[in-house]
């Protein structure tokens, strides 16, 4: 792709990215709206929303819940999923195909089905809905993502490295913790980030299982009725900007580290 082609892809992708950003920019702009009750119409610029984020009573609690759920669910999914991924790649066992199907199925199960099914189950088992049930639900749909992600990483891990570890007098535990695990870590982190994002953003499954607890998306959903308070925009914008900042900082430190290493 030279000449015209090269130029085209820059323009096309630029447009695609702009397109992706439109509602985000909209959300950010309206986080500065001097909205009194409904944040639908532009009424003027203010910093108040940013300065008193937790003014709209529920926003902060919902946000806190969302973070808590995402953290715990991510943890559960990452641990269980990583274990399964390692087992799938490294061991032979009976019912391997069944297990693979079991892992794949949640991915093909639409969220409504998953949410409704779980909700019915909790109801039958008499499990009170709340943060706990949401966490279970989130861990459930994240687990499959984790397995697929980590499995790819385990699979691309050169077994010769572990062999080298054993050859160099590393006991099985030492080989796992000093070689296997650090090498899987990027995959595990990626899986965890993905889980976190999916959990943080989930609405459908949450809505079936949250009981009276409010998460950030479900807050937005109910608040939609009377116009979402600008504080919700503030939180969403802040999370977005933080993510960007995080990437920039880590990129720059990585670049700096590379430069340092290059000098050695």
């Amino acid at each position: 792709m030279r000449g015209f082609g090269k130029y085209t892809i820059w323009v096309y992708s630029g447009m695609a990215l702009v397109f992706l950003m439109i509602p985000i920019v909209y959300t950010i702009i309206f986080s500065f709206n001097d909205a009194r009750r409904t944040n639908i119409i532009w009424r003027g610029f203010t910093l108040d929303n940013w300065l008193n984020v937790c003014a709209a009573q529920d926003v902060c609690r919902a946000f806190g819940n969302s973070i808590l759920i995402a953290v715990v669910a991510t943890f559960i999914a990452t641990v269980l999923g990583t274990m399964i991924a390692i087992a799938l790649v490294r061991y032979r066992f009976r019912f391997r195909n069944t297990t693979t199907l079991l892992i794949f199925l949640p991915l093909t199960t639409p969220e409504v089905v998953l949410g409704a099914g779980l909700a019915a189950q909790f109801l039958q088992a008499g499990v009170p809905k709340g943060l706990g049930t949401v966490i279970i639900a989130h861990a459930l749909f994240c687990i499959s993502f984790v397995i697929v992600t980590v499995r790819a990483r385990v699979a691309s891990l050169d077994p010769a490295l572990e062999e080298a570890g054993r050859d160099l007098y590393g006991s099985p535990q030492q080989v796992f913790w000093r070689i296997t695990f650090p090498l899987l870590l990027p995959g595990i982190i990626a899986a965890a980030l993905l889980s976190f994002a999916l959990s943080f953003d989930d609405f459908i499954i949450t809505n079936f299982n949250r009981g009276a607890e409010v998460t950030f998306p479900s807050f937005v959903y109910t608040a939609a009725a009377r116009g979402i308070p600008p504080e919700a925009n503030v939180i969403a914008s802040a999370v977005f900007l933080l993510a960007i900042l995080f990437v920039l900082v880590s990129q720059f430190t990585a670049a700096a580290r590379r430069r340092r290493l290059a000098k050695l």
Partner: protein, 357 residues
């Protein structure tokens, strides 16, 4: 789920837990420019009970759906009191999802308007007590649309695709039924209902009706996706207040509007019943009731509020939306109670229109 007689009310821990969660509809309490609720603040100061006011009810059905499972298990649904419409309250009471009110804690209940004391679904008000009442009627954007008088006017070609109706079946269907000359408080038949439903379906599939929503219909009015709508009485006043001028107008259609009330109830799993009763008692003080009514423009169930209102704003004391005259009331009907069978059928039929099925 079923009779629910086995459900036990949660133990009341109000004594040790001076907090309260209140779930309610949007545009349903007095609110100042900073988003605070003055009467509620006063209550908190007075009693030391700190109240979390959650605007989580957009529609009776959708709210019920989110809490149903917990109710069935007798669990705390995160609200110690919630204001729901008569028919939904009736369901809760039948299923045993509510706690019986202790009127010792609500001396002001004496102020409850006489005609609201013995509804069919809760004789003697053992389990529920009204918060506000209101009408469903029609509203329109006065800048873009001429005067509307009847439901038929909503079907005018120039409003095609710009009409909103409520997902509250009793209000939307109620207005259409009345427009068909049916008395919704009387023993209308399934045929009557189906005839009205056909009209409704026709307007939906024909694209006259743009959308069917809960309280969020106000949003469509604000961003002008809809120019006319079936609406609840007080909401329009508040929209106008926010807009800063009389942008919308609300009327009860000539063929009649619905009359309803939303009632406090205390969910079975709430461990703060006494606090809830304290709150109810507070809002049954005429002055407080008047202050709320002055803001929300819904019908207050509290006797003496009118007098109190005179003190605040005499003009409002004459407001038909807050203190409807008999004449106005005569033009409104309460949707009659439906049997389980009817509820099933009518809801399904109504939903099938919403689902385009």
């Amino acid at each position: 789920a079923g009779g629910g007689s086995e459900l036990q009310p949660a133990e009341d821990r109000s004594e040790s837990d001076p907090t309260l969660n209140w779930a309610n509809w949007p545009f349903y309490i007095d609110e100042d420019d900073n988003g605070n609720y003055p009467t509620l603040e006063a209550f908190q100061e007075q009693t030391g009970i700190s109240v979390t006011y959650n605007i989580t009810v957009d529609d009776n059905n959708s709210y019920y759906a989110t809490v149903r499972d917990q109710l069935a298990l007798g669990q705390d649904i995160g609200a110690d009191t919630v204001c729901l419409t008569d028919w939904m309250v009736s369901r809760w009471i039948q299923l045993g999802y509510t706690q019986e009110l202790n009127y010792d804690n609500i001396p002001n209940a004496a102020n409850l308007s006489e005609d609201l004391r013995n509804p069919e679904f809760d004789p003697g008000r053992r389990f529920s007590i009204p918060w506000q009442g209101g009408f469903a009627g029609i509203a329109w954007n006065t800048e873009q649309v001429g005067e509307l008088r009847s439901v038929d006017d909503l079907w005018a070609p120039e409003l095609r695709g710009r009409v909103g109706v409520l997902s509250e079946m009793r209000d939307t269907m109620g207005l259409i039924l009345m427009n068909n000359g049916v008395d919704i408080s009387g023993d209308f038949s399934a045929d009557d209902f189906n005839a009205a439903l056909d009209i409704f379906r026709e307007q939906v599939t024909g694209g006259q009706i743009r959308n069917v929503r809960g309280n969020a219909y106000t949003e469509d009015l604000v961003n002008e996706d809809t120019l006319a709508a079936i609406a609840w009485s007080g909401d329009i006043t508040l929209l106008n207040f926010e807009a800063g001028y009389e942008k919308w107008k609300f009327v009860i259609p000539e063929a009649g509007g619905t009359l309803w009330a939303d009632n406090f109830l205390i969910p079975i799993g709430s461990p703060r019943k006494t606090n809830a009763e304290t709150l109810i008692n507070y809002y049954y003080e005429p002055e407080v009731a008047a202050e709320v009514a002055a803001w929300v423009n819904y019908i207050t169930p509290v006797e003496g509020a009118r007098e109190a209102m005179e003190a605040i704003d005499p003009e409002l004391a004459e407001n038909e939306l807050i203190f409807p005259s008999d004449e106005t009331l005569a033009n409104t009907r309460i949707f009659r109670g439906l049997t389980g069978q009817e509820e099933n059928e009518y809801q399904a039929a109504f939903q099938s229109v919403l689902l385009g099925a």
